[in-house]
Chain length 210, copies 2
């Protein structure tokens, strides 16, 4: 006879994910997890295994929910360039005066655990590859629509955008101002605008042709 | 009569800094610190206070040694643009196939502790401001030397470069390939090149004037 579950596994995992996202692996205790997930240690171990297995399940959950949603948004709409702009603008808009900004679980895990835990390393690298691929696909769409030049190096640009997103996640975590993030995003996107309109620098030249 | 010190304080602090840099605050135990610093708990507490005080001293040490050295390099040489290029090229060159890449202690600390520890937050923000100011000064030098256009927004560009450096520290920690980092740096620097030569896109147009 199957064991009767007194809690919703997905909801419990979501709560664990939020905790790891905010406080990291080392900064989250089993006691913290029990409290937030609303289940006791025995049930937690029975459902998820140890803390390491629960953390890896949280990374998978984040991948399936958050990273997938970002990739889906980058794949939407006729304009690849507009989708990329919206991705970055959303990062600025999301930055609020919250006391404990969470940043991005992939960024946080890359920094905290990728160098020392092979399982975390593999999942972080897989997520970074997904993000890069989503940018690449949006850039390819933009090239086909002639929003950016066809000769542009899509792979290098996708890596550049992936790096910008990682930097923004660090700066968000460090609590920098919204105007700081907006400056970063404006210059980051100017790279694509430069490709879109080769004769235009970051600031439109006075009287320049456009 | 002063207590006789059986260890060199600076050297012990350097070793503690290396440990926090590699493994973070939570990932470093007092036992780890005793072993690496070569001193016993009592002496450690006497010289540095508790783990929190030692961590903050390590951040100060990193600021005075590593961040200061980077800022000094950005201030050297006749060309501000060359100094910025060298800063980023050094990030690519430093990326080796090391098993446990350390990344940057400021980035690591921003992610791990800035949201929850006010003292770490203040030191991280001060270091980020130093990095931004060093980029700003190099950009200003480049503007005065007419390497980049005088009308360019130096503050926005300095913030953009600060963000790129933070992203690179995350990607280094995640162990991405040297070619990945090189792609990121090439596109990042193209922003400055675009300002230097407004009519040149990332890839020189075939037969275009230059």
């Amino acid at each position: 006879m199957a064991r009767f579950k007194t809690f919703d596994t997905d909801e419990a995992l979501d709560r664990a994910t939020e905790l790891f996202w905010a406080n990291g692996f080392e900064g989250t205790s089993i006691q913290d997890l029990e409290g937030r997930m609303g289940i006791q240690r025995g049930s937690l171990y029975h459902a998820f295994g140890d803390k390491q297995r629960l953390f890896l399940a949280a990374l998978d959950r984040y991948d399936q929910v958050v990273v997938r949603r970002l990739a889906d948004k980058l794949a939407q709409g006729a304009s690849g360039l507009a989708a990329i702009r919206q991705f970055f603008q959303a990062r600025v808009d999301a930055a609020q005066d919250t006391a404990h900004p969470r940043g991005c679980l992939i960024t946080n895990s890359a920094v905290e655990r990728a160098p020392t835990d092979p399982e975390t390393y593999r999942k972080v690298r897989a997520c970074l590859a997904e993000i890069e691929a989503a940018f690449f696909a949006a850039l390819t769409r933009a090239q086909k629509a002639r929003e950016i030049r066809e000769a542009a190096d899509g792979r290098a640009l996708a890596r550049f955008l992936t790096n910008s997103a990682q930097g923004l996640a660090v700066l968000e975590r460090a609590g920098v101002s919204r105007s700081f993030l907006a400056d970063v995003v404006r210059v980051t996107l100017s790279v694509l605008e430069g490709i879109e309109r080769p004769n235009r620098a970051i600031h439109p030249p006075q009287g320049g042709a456009r």
